[in-house]
Structure formats: structure tokens, C-alpha cells
């Protein structure tokens, strides 16, 4: 088992708690992304896993071994830095070799590992160059190669694509995922870009205020967020307060909301009588043929190509609706319906 397990991890900086009581398991060969806004504790958590920060509480196990207090140089992890952190005075080949020399890997093994990584990352033309002679994408590949050549149990990525332009980011994203799968590496990836997280990961840990709010597959996170924070952070969502007026045994739940009565469907019973609910803008059906018919006035319209984004006002609040009908204009009144299964029940309200 070359996965990671963390139990009740805690990190305090004076009075400030950066990570509070975080526990998780990451399976061998799994690609997990830590996703959240700035300051949510994702980089702190990554630094604890890599050993650059010692937790003030809890334990970390790598491949079954307790490494909570093991320094980074003695852990079987490799970290890809946001800034790439290539050694500016060493050539690409020397950068790639650095870790192997430190760990005194025998020459034949060293050569075999280098050849594999150089071939895989297409670096053979750049071996004698210094980092400042490489483009951002090439530097990223060298940083990745330098980590991969170590053949670590766990590879860690700290926002590695944030310095790349949009096109290159897409390319490198695919490359990282391919390499992770080819080498069968367990990977932890930190980002605040939800599109990146959804596209690359087996599972995403959404973090907020030093806690993991939800750990799920990208599909589950999108279709069944558990909290209003996750609903709002992953994609766009219309979140509103609701009171449960009745719940029959078939999973159908009647709600009283500011928009009027709504019917939702949930497999699990609600967590209280007053809950937050959400629905995705693209789930609004402007043919209004289904249940939960709502009427609203369009206050703002933005044509996005394959859909039109509408900001609509109803009962003094603003919601978002997406439609494929570009003819709708600001000031129009629209009626739309929502399928009960597309209304998601979130956390109970205090």
C-alpha cells in the first residue's frame, strides 16, 4: 500500500488555526486534488504531507509508515513547486540528476531512470540548457521530470500550472495526468482552479476554513454538493433557504422558499426542518414543462456562445439561469421549471 492516510491533522500558527482536524485516506495510484479558495489551508496541508511543516496535532502515514515528524529529505515524496524551483546554476540534466545523486542511486539505475523520464517528457533536446533558457512549459516539464525520476511513492503538486498561459495549461494538465497514470503514482494536487480539479482528479477534497468540506468524485461534487460552500465553489449554483413542509416516504420533499413552494427529491432524509437548497443554472428548463414552475424578470443577459447566461430577479433576490435561446432580452419575463431531482438539499440551517 503506497497511499497516504492522515488522522486528525491540525496546524496552528499562534492563535491562527490553518488546518483543523483533517482526516483522509488516499489510495495507491489515486489522483486527489485539494481545492479551495486562498487561505483555506490546502497548501499548509500539502506542506505537512511533504514534511516542510510539522503538524501541531494528528498523524500522517505514507505507505503505512508514520512520517509525521520525518523531515522532507527522508520522506518518499516528491514535490513539484508552483515556481518550478529549478536550480538556476545547473543544466536540465544536472537538475534531473540532483535527487538521484543525493540518494546515491547506482549509476546504471540512475541512467535507466533518467532515460525513461527524458524520453517520456521529451527533454532530450534541452539537456545541456540552463533553466533560464527554457520556456515556462519546458521548465514545468523539467520540474516534473526531476520529481518523477525519484520514483516516489507519492508525488505532490503545489499549483504547478498557475504560471502557464491557458493553452499551455491545458497541455501540461493532460501530460501530468498521463504521466501519473503511466507511472502509477499516488498524487496530491493543490489548486484553486475548480476546472483543473474537476478535469484531472479521481477525487477532489474541497477545503474551506482549514477543513475538508467534502471529499468526492468530481461528478458527485457537481451533482450532489453537501454544503452551500461546495455548491457555490464548484461551478455556479443558486443557493437559497428553504423550510421543509412535508416529506413523503418516496423521497419527495415539499419545500417552502422565497421563490414559492418547490418540490425536491432526495434519497437521504433531510438534516433538519430548515435547510439550504441549490440548483444549477443550466438545469432551469425554459420550456417550463415540468414541476416547480417559476417566473422571473431578466435583469442582465450575457451571450456566451453556446449558451446565454441570464441573471433573473424573483421575490427580491437574483438567480442565474442558462439557456440555449439567445433571443431573450433584458427586461423580459421568463418562466422556467426545475426537475425535483435537480434541487439539491444542502446543510441544515442553524
Amino acid at each position: 500500500m503506497s497511499g497516504i492516510s492522515a488522522r486528525s491533522l491540525k496546524m496552528e500558527f499562534g492563535d491562527f488555526v490553518a488546518v483543523r482536524d483533517v482526516s483522509f485516506e488516499v489510495g495507491s495510484g489515486e489522483f486527489v486534488t485539494l481545492l479551495g479558495p486562498s487561505g483555506c489551508g490546502k497548501t499548509t496541508l500539502l506542506k505537512m504531507i511533504s514534511g516542510f511543516l510539522t503538524p501541531t496535532g494528528g498523524e500522517i502515514h505514507l505507505a503505512g509508515e508514520n512520517v509525521t515528524r520525518t523531515p522532507p529529505e527522508k520522506r518518499d515524496t516528491a514535490l513539484c513547486f508552483q515556481s518550478y524551483a529549478l536550480f538556476p546554476h545547473l543544466t536540465v540534466l544536472e537538475n534531473l540528476e540532483f535527487g538521484l545523486r543525493q540518494k546515491k542511486v547506482p549509476l546504471t539505475d540512475r541512467k535507466e531512470r533518467l532515460d525513461a523520464v527524458i524520453g517520456n517528457l521529451d527533454l532530450s533536446l534541452h539537456l545541456s540548457k540552463l533553466p533560464n533558457q527554457l520556456s515556462g512549459g519546458q521548465q514545468q516539464r523539467v520540474a516534473l521530470g526531476r520529481a518523477l525520476v525519484m520514483r516516489p511513492n507519492v508525488i505532490l503538486f503545489d499549483e504547478p500550472l498557475s504560471n502557464l498561459d491557458a493553452k499551455l495549461r491545458d497541455q501540461v494538465r493532460i501530460e501530468i495526468r498521463r504521466i501519473q497514470q503511466d507511472f502509477g503514482l499516488t498524487a496530491i494536487y493543490v489548486t484553486h482552479d475548480q476546472a483543473e480539479a474537476l478535469a484531472m482528479s479521481d477525487r477532489v477534497f474541497v477545503m474551506n476554513g482549514g477543513r475538508i468540506e467534502q471529499a468526492d468524485t468530481p461528478e458527485e461534487l457537481y451533482s450532489a454538493p453537501k454544503t452551500s460552500f461546495v455548491a457555490d465553489f464548484i461551478g455556479s449554483a443558486n443557493v437559497l433557504d428553504a423550510e421543509i413542509t412535508s416529506a413523503n416516504g418516496n423521497g419527495e420533499i415539499e419545500l417552502s422558499t422565497a421563490l414559492g413552494p418547490l418540490v425536491a427529491r432526495a434519497d437521504t432524509p433531510p438534516k433538519g426542518s430548515r435547510v439550504k437548497i441549490c440548483w444549477r443554472p443550466e438545469h432551469a428548463d425554459l420550456s417550463a414543462n415540468g414541476k416547480n414552475r417559476l417566473t422571473a424578470r431578466v435583469s442582465h443577459r450575457a451571450f456566451q456562445g453556446h449558451f446565454t447566461d441570464l441573471h433573473v430577479e424573483a421575490s427580491g433576490a437574483e438567480y442565474r439561469v442558462q439557456t440555449s435561446k439567445p433571443a431573450i432580452r433584458e427586461g423580459d419575463t421568463v418562466t422556467f421549471s426545475l426537475q425535483p431531482e435537480q434541487i439539491v438539499l444542502l446543510e441544515a440551517m442553524a
Binding site: E73, L79, F81, S83, A85, F87, H89, L90, F98
Partner: protein, 284 residues
């Protein structure tokens, strides 16, 4: 750049840099000319190799050359050696680091003569150090520490005085290394010494060279520490130069002065080459 712009730049530089270049240039010219027999204040002026010839045969001169190089090289290496760990320690601010940094740099503001006299007072036959060692029962009787034959006192003073300068240069250089680069080395298995040797030194070698060279030149030409705390059985080059000048032998003094300049230039070049060679070209 056009000729007009060049002239403008030269005109702007002349009042400051031009004056310095002119003053140094005149002094260098006079020294070189005097060493070859010109500007003879006590005899006939004219080209002559006699002063060089006589000087190179003098045992006192050769001993002074060796001694000055010894003081220059050891002082510069010791200063850098002590400055590196302090620069790394002070790399990241911590409570009190500013005050510690300021205290460490204080010797830069103390005049060499003052420092030398203070030192002499401390190590004197009936000074504080001797009293302390006797008080602790480590020495039975006072030791003669002043003007020691190996110039340990001079080396101590030179290092004390010059280490802050090396620290000043190295702190800036060490601070310019990003945390990520050092963390990457650590993540790849490099311990503290490996990080120092393979990352910090190559990335700060220019500052180290500057510190070594500037301290070497200063210590090579030392006069005040040598006169007060140096060994009495040998002279430094500047001491010798002052001796000749005081005797009215300006041409001999010029030979010593020019030798000092040559040793400073060659020594600096060798120190720079040595650091580059040690790094095997692996410098940023």
C-alpha cells in the same frame, strides 16, 4: 549610443568618478615611475631597474611579501567562513534578528586603530584575559600574547573587522535565493551541508568572490593592526613602505607600493579563479 551621448555621459561622470580616477591614476603613475628611477627626490632622475633589482634581493622584502599574503589570504578566508553561517542564520527575519545583524556589523564603524588598542588592552601581560585565565585556574602565570610570532592577533583583528563586510555582501546574496529552491533541494534528499555546498555556495559565489577579494586587498595592505598587534620579527609590505618613506628612500617605497598593487591584482585574480575552479563552473 551616439558620440554626443557618450560625451554627455562622460561630462556627467567627470566631477565624481573622473576625479577619483584622476587622483588614483596620478598616484599609480607616480608610484610606477618612481619605482623605475623617475621623480627621484634625493638623486638623479632617470630610467633604472636598480631599485627593483636591489629590493627583490632583500630578505626583508621577500619576508614582507610572504607575510602580507599570509595575512591577506587567511583573513579573507576566515571572514567569509564566519560570515556564511551567520548570513544563512539571518536569512529569514526573526524577533531580534535586526538587532543581531546591526551588532554584528558594528565593527565596520570602529576604526582599526581603536580596535587594535582595545585588543592589546585585553591580551596585555596584565590584561583582562590573562587575569581571567589565571582566575579560572587555567594558567599558572600570565602569558605573553601580544605581538605573537604567528600574527594570530592580527588575524583575529582582521577577521573581527572584516567579517561584517563579508556578512553584508553574503546576507544579500543568501536572501536572494528563493525558499522554493532550497526546499526543492531538501525535498530531493539534500541535507543541510549538501544544500550549502550544492545550492547556496554556487548561487552566492559572486558575493563570496567580492568579499574575498576586497578583504584580501585590505588585509594585504594592513598597516595599523600590524604596527600595534603584529609580530615584531617581520614587517608587512605597508609597514616596509612607510619605513622606506620615513627614511627618505622614496624610490624603494615606490617599489614596495607597486609590488603591493601587483600582488593585490594577481591575488584577486587567483582568488576569483580558485572559487570558480572549486565550483567547477557551477555558478549562477
Amino acid at each position: 549610443m551616439t558620440l554626443k551621448k557618450w560625451l554627455l555621459v562622460l561630462a556627467l561622470l567627470t566631477p565624481g568618478l573622473g576625479l577619483i580616477v584622476a587622483l588614483i591614476g596620478v598616484a599609480v603613475y607616480i608610484a610606477i615611475a618612481q619605482s623605475f628611477g623617475f621623480y627621484n627626490l634625493s638623486g638623479e632622475s632617470g630610467f633604472s631597474l636598480e631599485f627593483w633589482d636591489r629590493m627583490l634581493d632583500r630578505k626583508v622584502f621577500n619576508r614582507a611579501v610572504a607575510y602580507s599574503i599570509y595575512v591577506g589570504v587567511i583573513s579573507s578566508f576566515l571572514s567569509v567562513l564566519f560570515a556564511y553561517p551567520l548570513a544563512i542564520w539571518l536569512r529569514k527575519p526573526f524577533p531580534g534578528s535586526l538587532a543581531i545583524g546591526a551588532m554584528l556589523k558594528a565593527p565596520l564603524l570602529v576604526h582599526g586603530l581603536v580596535a587594535a588598542f582595545l585588543f592589546i588592552n585585553v591580551i596585555a601581560y596584565h590584561g583582562v584575559l590573562n587575569q581571567l585565565m589565571q582566575g579560572l585556574g587555567l594558567w599558572d602565570e600570565p602569558q605573553r600574547l601580544q605581538n605573537d610570532r604567528n600574527a594570530i592577533g592580527v588575524l583575529l583583528l582582521q577577521t573581527w573587522k572584516n567579517m561584517p563586510f563579508a556578512l553584508l555582501l553574503l546576507t544579500g546574496a543568501v536572501q536572494s535565493i528563493s525558499d522554493d529552491v532550497l526546499n526543492a533541494a531538501r525535498d530531493l534528499g539534500a541535507g543541510s551541508f549538501a544544500r550549502f555546498r550544492k545550492v547556496i555556495v554556487p548561487l552566492t559565489v559572486s558575493a563570496m568572490q567580492a568579499a574575498l577579494i576586497i578583504i584580501f586587498i585590505g588585509a594585504l595592505a594592513d598597516f595599523s593592526f600590524q604596527v600595534i598587534a603584529g609580530p615584531t620579527n617581520r614587517q608587512s609590505l605597508s609597514q616596509l613602505m612607510v619605513f622606506f618613506k620615513s627614511s627618505g628612500r622614496w624610490n624603494d617605497a615606490a617599489v614596495v607600493g607597486v609590488s603591493l598593487m601587483i600582488i593585490a591584482i594577481v591575488g584577486s585574480g587567483l582568488l576569483a579563479a580558485l572559487t570558480r575552479f572549486t565550483m567547477r563552473g557551477r555558478v549562477a
